[in-house]
């Protein structure tokens, strides 16, 4: 095989960070029609490497040294005009967020038209339709007249891919193309990329943080950490036996081992029981009171959790998982149904009763960057709920409780006086956990607590949650779209689809022999590491 692209000793600095090198001596080769995966955690320089190949770096980034040779031309020394030709003909790129990569005021036809060489309109239309069909959009005649908001996320990403392959590029750079998509759609997009590689004979530089996704598609794996290449290896060998210790820890952190408390399926009363919960939203009523359609976010859902157990709710985005959590926490109005916590019906409580009862059930949120008020100190953040829900505690006890809890979640005591922006994502999620732990709740609702974190950090946070459960016998209602994670983490599971629970039971039963067709489809599309 001959070389298509070779990066040699690429070094890059960012102006604002004291001219620190963000990429250090990156060198690798991509051969014709080869899929190379760049793997690394956020901030490791994956995207910067890709952007310096296509030369779309921000102005604050400066390439200090190195060569990027593409078909005997050094891309770094080309004029901008020539580079534009290369982008037009040879290298194209697809981005992470399909929602933001398409211009909302242009129809699909107009958007795609830009990327075709100037011909007459009818020819272009024919080309566009055939390309859209080749990325798996079957009713292309209809789709080209639509606007981006009328398409689903997966469709948008397909359109993006069609746009990228319009010029029949020799190299396609895919920057986390499936991260914001649901698993079932993710599988379709990955399959499509592999298929297109064979059809068009193009090479793909695939950037991802997800090892399982990488193992599905790639021929070669490059692991990046802190701007350095840690390991470069053939994909098969890499997943069999990674050489580097960091790569090993990456691989291991996608596996959790949990001691199941199966013996505790006893007659104890349920901590949480939800019966026939319905949450319907009315599309906003117009001023003159025309009734419009109902949106059934949660439709007739029942579930129960025993003390010390973890119950998981899995499903794709928009299936109503988070709405259940919000309904339990009282953040949204309930159409009908019953919610009992510790055998007490929380829907029939008056305000003062519910205020004193709230300390028994709490919630941690998905995004640690928006769940902490940026203008409050950590101490004040943790104290907030405590002061409000347990006003009887005096100040001295509060400070000892704070020190105790911050130690429990593995942070140093002086972080109580810091502000949220001084912490990383994982540390912030620990703070969010500390905030609810001080109340000693019996039930904790975790709404995708790790989905915005890197894999190694994800493992630390989950380990912390397990650790707490072993000590305090707390129950978790764990909401996630990541079935792989849930299958290792939970005792019982409910699979949700379009607001309904399609299947529920003991996790291992469902994972291993599901009866429902939707569950089967979901399980099948979860990317697995191929050994």
């Amino acid at each position: 095989m001959n070389k298509l692209l070779s990066v040699k000793d690429l070094c890059l600095t960012i102006k604002s960070k004291e001219n620190q090198k963000v990429l250090k001596n990156i060198s690798f080769d991509i051969h014709k029609s080869e899929i190379v995966s760049l793997i690394g955690e956020s901030g490791s320089g994956k995207s910067l490497t890709a952007l310096s190949i296509i030369r779309l770096l921000e102005k604050s980034c400066k390439i200090k040294s190195g060569k990027i040779i593409f078909l005997n031309k050094n891309l770094l020394s080309l004029e901008e005009r020539d580079m534009r030709d290369i982008r037009k003909e040879d290298i194209s790129m697809i981005f992470q967020e399909p929602m933001r990569s398409l211009n909302p005021v242009m129809s699909i036809f107009e958007q795609l038209r830009e990327s075709y060489p100037k011909k007459n309109k009818i020819d272009i239309k024919k080309n566009i339709i055939s390309d859209l069909v080749s990325v798996g959009i079957n009713d292309a005649d209809r789709v080209i007249n639509l606007y981006p908001h009328q398409l689903s996320g997966g469709m948008k990403q397909r359109v993006m891919i069609a746009m990228a392959i319009a010029c029949k590029p020799k190299l396609l750079i895919a920057d986390e193309p499936t991260t914001s998509l649901d698993v079932t759609i993710q599988k379709q997009v990955l399959d499509l990329l592999v298929e297109l590689r064979e059809k068009l004979n193009m090479a793909i530089l695939f950037i991802t943080h997800d090892l399982a996704v990488a193992s599905q598609v790639s021929d070669k794996i490059i692991v990046l950490k802190d701007g350095k290449i840690i390991e470069e290896n053939n994909a098969k060998e890499f997943f069999k036996l990674p050489k580097n210790s960091y790569s090993k820890s990456l691989l291991e952190s996608s596996v959790y081992n949990r001691q199941f408390f199966n013996n505790q399926f006893n007659s104890e009363n349920d901590i949480l029981s939800v019966q026939n919960l319905k949450v319907f939203y009315q599309e906003k009523k117009s001023f003159f009171g025309n009734n419009s359609s109902l949106l059934k976010a949660v439709d007739d859902v029942s579930l129960s959790i025993k003390p010390g157990m973890t119950h998981a709710i899995a499903g794709e985005s928009g299936s109503g998982k988070t709405t259940i959590a919000k309904a339990i926490m009282g953040l949204t109005n309930i159409t009908s149904g019953k919610i009992k916590i510790c055998d007490k019906d929380i829907l029939n409580m008056n305000n003062s009763e519910i205020r004193s009862f709230r300390k028994n059930y709490q919630m941690i949120f998905q995004d640690p960057f928006s769940s902490l008020n940026p203008r409050m100190r950590i101490g004040a953040i943790i104290k907030e709920g405590l002061c409000f829900l347990k006003p009887e505690i005096d100040n001295r006890t509060i400070s000892s409780i704070l020190e105790d809890v911050i130690d429990k979640v593995g942070l140093s005591i002086d972080s109580l006086n810091k502000y949220p922006h001084q912490f990383s994502g994982g540390q912030r999620q620990r703070i969010a956990i500390a905030r609810v732990l001080v109340l000693n709740p019996k039930l904790l609702i975790c709404d995708e607590p790790t989905s915005s974190l890197d894999v190694t950090v994800q493992k630390q946070v989950l380990d912390l949650l397990l650790n707490i459960q072993e000590k305090t016998k707390i129950s978790y209602l764990f909401i996630s779209h990541d079935i792989k994670l849930i299958s290792n983490f939970s005792d019982t599971i409910s699979i949700m689809h379009k607001g309904r629970i399609v299947e529920h039971g003991i996790t291992s039963d469902i994972i291993n022999n599901s009866k429902n067709s939707y569950t089967k489809k979901l399980l099948k599309s979860v990317p697995q590491i191929i050994n």
Binding site: S16, M329, G330, R355, R358, M363, N373, E384, F388
Partner: protein, 458 residues
Amino acid sequence: MFVFLLTDLFFYIIILTLLSYILYVRKTPDLLETWSYVFKNKTGALSVLVLSFFMIIALSDSIHFKNKVYDENNKKYTYTSEISSLLDIILLPIHENSEKSYSSPFSSKLYSKETVKIDKDIDKRVYPKLKYKGNHNLYSEKNIQNIFITIIISFVKTLFICFIMYLIIFYKTLFKNFKKITTYFLRNKFIYLSFFIILLIFISLYDLSIQYYVLGTDKVGEDVLYKSIKSIRTGILIGTLTTIVMLPFAIFLGIFAGYIGGFVDDIIQYIYTTLNSIPSVLLIASAILMLQVYMANNPIDFENVYERADLRLFFLCMILGLTSWTGLCRLLRGESMKLREIEYVQASQTFGLSKVSIIIRHIIPNIMHIVIITVVLDFSALVLAEAVLSYVNIGVDPTTYSWGNMINAARLEMSREPIVWWSLFAAFLFMFILVLFANLFSDAVRDAFDPRANKNYE
């Protein structure tokens, strides 16, 4: 005897709020860090300096009192009905006398010819000499030379004042750590140099205007420079007092509309849409007319001219404030709608915090940056609005010194031949400097408070 006019009291309140905000910022580390970006930025630091000079002038013009005079008839001290401010006392040598009519800047004669008797029967048309200034050169007979020497003397005075200030600030470490102080000065040389230059401009203007009419005189022979300096208070007052009136409406209605939503949101939106669609000039005109009618019907309550003028100024600020809160309200409504859905607000909701305490603890601190940016941006717009309103005669009282009134008067001056340009020029110059630096300041503030802006100055 001190006299407190209505606007004076509000001006003191504004100064106090400003000072307490500064104290609050000094105590809060993250706010201090944000504000320090304003001072690290050179234009930001310079504009703070210039604006604080303006503020000091406005403040000294807001301390009013009545003078004591000895009454020959009753053989005792009485108070005059005339009210003067601290600034009037300081600038007394500049404005105590006035000429007959127009004279151009630095001139020694009137601007128009008059008939003067030379002999018994011979009349002659000449430019009469000015009575009080322009002919009494202290240092030299030649004008240019005299101006030059005056400026040099002011330079020496400025140096002396700076040296005294330096002694006061550094009296402890004066002789111990000379090297440290020099490096400190070198590091902050820009700000000290600009302070020196601004002070020099002030002192030399003062020295010059004792001998000359630096910006000429107006129709009744009053020093135009003095008029422009007196107008600073009016401009700043309209800029700040209006904001004080507007803020509670904007903040509370904006947050209620955004955070509570639903029915409340609908009502508030209808209110501000309605208010926005009424032409504001119409509202202001009718309000000012109503006030004038009221004052004409109750002459006992408003005994002197100063109180009437002051009340009119105050009323103008009120009505401007009532019409200008809608823009900020709309911004804050959007921002609190966004914050309502953000997770730390929801987290506090799960703790069962009441709406009011969520607004105080979480919403208000997180919208304050928008408020500050808008207030500083609006300030310059309001100073300009005053000029426009006075031009169409619905602004401040004609007896109040204001740039708008000066521009209004300049309408006639510009249409006579030869034209009198300095009145308009003076108003333009002062307004330009104030608005320019207010804008530069708001730019610096916006950069500092905008999380996405690049904060690497130098």
